[in-house]
């Protein structure tokens, strides 16, 4: 657990959750965090969609019922955003992605715990996704696909989401996959 080498978005003091046990002969190569901006983008898009829906509703409902728009607007634009962005911060901080010389550990602790561990020799595909904001801010999602974790689950829920320099992360994993897989099995 003590041996670490610097990776693309690895901070020097990123702690490993106590739920994750690293084997004695296993070497941690990278510890990655999810970026807060990746959540902010999703949350903001959601709020903009709600704003659009409210605007349409404002024109659609009869004049005598338009009083409902004020409490709705207060809830969605005054009360909801601080809760959403505040909880989002905790949600983002609950993510840890650990790449060792043996496996990738994808960990999320938020209300519950979700952990996926996959050894490098079982990875069949590596997919990188970047949205428009992700391209500008240089973050993205790296999805290690296996025979058991196929698309779209492997690319959506159980993936390395919102990490900085996703292409560098992809290259690092690809190198490990290449060294771990037998010659005939390599992509």
């Amino acid at each position: 657990m003590s041996e670490k080498s610097m990776g693309p978005s690895e901070g020097p003091h990123i702690a490993i959750p106590r739920e994750i046990v690293i084997e004695p002969n296993e070497k941690i190569l990278m510890v990655l965090e999810r970026t807060y901006i990746s959540f902010v983008t999703i949350a903001t898009v959601g709020l903009l969609v709600i704003a659009g829906a409210l605007l349409i509703l404002n024109f659609a409902i009869p004049k005598e019922n338009q009083w409902i728009m004020l409490p709705l607007a207060v809830f969605f634009f005054v009360i909801l955003p601080p809760i959403l962005y505040g909880l989002g911060y905790v949600y983002v901080k609950g993510h840890r992605y650990i790449i060792t010389n043996e496996r990738i550990i994808m960990f999320r602790k938020f209300i519950g715990i979700l952990l996926r561990t996959v050894t490098h020799d079982k990875i069949t595909d590596l997919i990188v996704n970047q949205g428009p904001i992700g391209r500008i801010c240089n973050y993205g999602r790296v999805s290690p696909i296996t025979a058991g974790m196929i698309m779209p689950m492997g690319a959506a829920i159980f993936s390395i989401s919102g990490v900085r320099n996703p292409y560098e992360v992809r290259d690092s994993i690809a190198k490990l996959v290449k060294t771990k897989q037998p010659e005939g099995q390599q992509n």
């Binding site: 739920e19 994750i20 046990v21 084997e23 043996e102 496996r103 209300i111 519950g112 715990i113 979700l114 952990l115 996926r116 561990t117 996959v118 050894t119 020799d121 079982k122 296996t146 025979a147 058991g148 974790m149 196929i150 689950m153 492997g154 829920i157 159980f158």
Partner: protein, 191 residues
């Protein structure tokens, strides 16, 4: 977590096969199942409840109290029955980790057995809900090319339902178990 206990007659071990761990489903997990069932029932009947109240003619107070009593008695009945049946249901779960494979066994009215060799495991998924975190139990799904990620989705309403048991459901100390499983997977990979 134990190696003691009998092996169900439907499970046959190979001559050189050794049991490493024998796990049981935790009874406490049945209460989270009851809670989620009640939540589902409320979600599904929410529209009907609102409609009933809106269409009802006054006096609504008396109707409200009768309605509330029926709901409470109904939930109490369901809770008691599920807690009783749940005990036998949970006792029917048995997960055996041997030096060769994982055997996932469930006997409750029907019997379902899944066997998976460590060399076939591609991913290990650990899933713990909020109550499970407090009580230290959780579900571990060993994925293979045959049993894929759709069975391990953390959101209950999105998960693909299955007649057979495919996961080590609600076992104690899941972090330890997943670590033990990983050690076995690594050993079989290098062997």
């Amino acid at each position: 977590m134990t190696v003691e206990g009998t092996v169900p007659p439907q499970v046959s071990l190979l001559p050189d096969e050794k049991i490493i761990m024998r796990l049981q489903r935790r009874y406490a997990s049945i209460f989270t199942s009851i809670l989620s069932l009640i939540a589902t029932a409320i979600l599904l009947s929410f529209g009907s409840i609102i409609r009933t109240f809106v269409q009802y003619t006054p006096p609504i107070e008396a109707f409200f109290w009768i309605f509330l009593s029926i709901i409470i008695i109904g939930f109490a009945f369901v809770f008691t029955v599920m807690a009783l049946v749940g005990y036998f249901y949970v006792q029917g779960h048995c997960y055996i980790l041997t030096n060769r494979r994982i055997i996932i066994y469930r006997k409750f009215i029907t019997i379902s057995v899944r066997e998976i060799a460590y060399s076939e495991i591609t991913d290990l998924i650990l899933n713990q809900g909020p109550i499970a975190r407090i009580l230290n139990y959780g579900s571990i799904t060993p994925l293979s090319p045959g049993i894929r990620g759709f069975y391990a989705v953390p959101y209950p309403y999105m998960r693909r339902a299955t007649y057979s048991r495919v996961e080590l459901k609600d076992v104690s100390q899941p972090s330890k178990v997943i670590n033990e499983l990983l050690t076995l997977v690594r050993f079989h990979k290098s062997a």
